[in-house]
Symmetry: C2
Subunit: 178 residues, 2 copies
């Protein structure tokens, strides 16, 4: 069952395309191609001082979709980068904020049929300004967004980004708002 | 802003790896690589006759993770395949069931940072046996699962597959169980 071998088809800056073969118990050879990925973090930046629950969302240009989409801040982990350090770095790069507290809300696989990427989701509280330079190939606008609207949108289909849906709904449960 | 060009790095059976370049308003050239994907369906097969709410889940081997995972039935759309036809085909291939009714619960992007894949999520009701042959490269076991457990697992982090989390929680809202 575990007889397998793999090689690299294409190597990118942070992930690579792999081809793998696997021999099943009955001798069948199964070939597959997938992305080998170092993992990523997803942030739910919570504004403690807002009169109504509010999080920082992004409007970010996504090349694959050739459009701007509404999503939570997120980013790819550096090789062997500590998960918490990665979460603070991405938060500072994308929103200009640093968190006093990061609360992990579990992990998820965004696309296990094509990638081994795992995403760690963090609720980021106690925000204060401490920016890092943005990646120069990113087009990002930070948008404070009413949290209750995001919960509704995650459930009715008007929020489409899967990691954001997972992050918003796990936050709602953590905050006892769902 | 929309000045872009792309070419194929690798062509697979159902998706391809693309490279694209884009010239920003300030003249910066941005290069990116992503998966060009025909889309997919996700099914929430609901057992109407169970004493407690129950859906059909899969334990499926995922090459990228080198492990079996718990997930909803899902599959890639054929080129120009009708979405509803694709949903019935995948349901019959993976669970052996056909649905009298498919209720669309919106769409999601599983991984917009690396892929343009869009997933259409369907609640499948009125199930009756009408199987199609499984793909011979898939290793799948069908598992009837208590729905309320899945809702809890989606929110507490013990269900990890993102499309399944989205499908289960949108179903919970549709059924007024959340």
């Amino acid at each position: 069952m575990n007889n397998s071998a793999r090689y690299t088809i294409w190597q990118g800056k942070s992930w690579r395309l792999c081809s793998a073969a696997r021999v099943l118990a009955d001798g069948t050879l199964v070939k597959t191609t997938y992305i080998d990925h170092p993992g990523a973090v997803v942030l739910v930046p919570w504004l403690d001082d807002s009169p109504e629950p509010t999080v920082l969302m992004l409007r970010q240009y996504r090349h694959a979709l050739a459009d701007f989409i509404l999503e939570l801040p997120a980013g790819t982990r550096g090789e062997n980068e500590d998960w918490n350090a990665c979460a603070q770095r991405e938060l500072r790069e994308e929103t200009g904020q640093e968190a006093e507290q990061l609360i992990e809300l579990g992990r998820c696989w965004p696309a296990p049929g094509v990638s081994n990427e795992i995403m760690a989701i963090y609720l980021a509280c106690g925000l204060h300004t401490n920016p890092l330079p943005q990646d120069d190939d990113e087009e990002i606008e930070v948008v404070p967004y009413p949290f209750n609207d995001l919960v509704r949108m995650a459930l009715d289909g008007s929020l489409l980004d899967a990691k954001s849906i997972v992050g918003i709904l796990r936050t709602a449960r953590y905050k006892r708002l769902l």
